[in-house]
Subunit: 183 residues, 2 copies
């Protein structure tokens, strides 16, 4: 990947993914819709109840050794068996963003094990992170996950582990949207 | 500062700053204009020959100890005596952005001394960094500097020191725009 990929998640009546449920986690939830459309760059679904936008950008915390470990066990999106999706937008607090890089990294990995915890669920759970904060969006990140139905319990376990960390004390808003892709 | 401040630099016939000269440094230059207008958030000058946009966002490389050292010696913008300005947009290479966080940090500071070199020129030279890459702009950063006329040689010295570093081997495009603010 070179450069920036802009991705728009549009909730409405269009799109390849069927919305199954929306779970409020922290703060205000988003309204339920029928479908979700995922489009890149300028293209967006013509009408939407709500949209979330983000960019696939450079790594912010991952170190070279971690990227080297993750790469061979990371899967791409749209595997035929990965028909369950999850869209999880997150906003972190001002206290988080005002910290220096080393303070945020320390909480992210040395204290919370964000990468270490996620590694255990590779390659079953595919993930793409979208950065939204610099775009002035209402969330700072939008993470998109895909997995086969048999891994749903593992996915819930991963979320439970992450939500119990010190890093999550800095999460001001989180919504958990579950979807399926009809065969 | 909490949240994101979006700043637009508009070159044209309007604005508080008079453009004195544009120096090509690396890659394509930008066209000369009469004035530069600096506006925040939605407000922009109505017409412009060209615009650069960026956001004042969270620290990306600075560590807590460095932020603590810099804060008491950093000056804000618009000091009455700081009537010289410089606008320096920069684009870094794909090779830079694909590196892990620790690799970029190592080149940025341990190898190139970006913060250490800049520290020597505080508080004389005030600086505000704007991030543009996630916005899909043609440059990755826009840095704005302000200083009194008597510090112009020091400012040129700072740029010469930074441009001689390993970090600058990853700079694909740089333009150096000098301005004055009429008393």
């Amino acid at each position: 990947m070179t450069g920036i990929l802009t991705v728009t998640f549009s909730a409405g009546n269009e799109g390849q993914w069927e919305m199954q449920r929306i779970l409020p986690v922290i703060g205000d939830v988003l309204p339920m819709a029928k479908r979700l459309s995922i489009t890149t760059n300028a293209t967006t679904a013509s009408e939407a109840d709500w949209r979330l936008k983000g960019v696939v950008s450079n790594p912010r915390y991952s170190q070279a050794a971690e990227m080297k470990m993750m790469k061979p066990v990371s899967e791409g999106l749209m595997r035929p068996e990965a028909i369950y999706g999850a869209l999880i937008p997150i906003k972190k607090s001002d206290a988080w963003w005002m910290m220096a890089q080393d303070e945020r990294r320390h909480i992210f990995e040395e204290s919370s094990g964000h990468i270490a915890k996620s590694m255990k669920y590779l390659p079953a759970i595919a993930r793409r992170l979208h950065h939204s904060r610099d775009l002035g969006e209402s969330f700072d990140f939008v993470t998109w996950f895909e997995f086969a139905p048999k891994y749903e319990a593992e996915f819930d376990q991963l979320l439970a582990e992450l939500r119990a960390t010190q890093e999550w004390k800095f999460v001001d808003r989180e919504v958990d949207i579950r979807l399926t892709r009809p065969a």
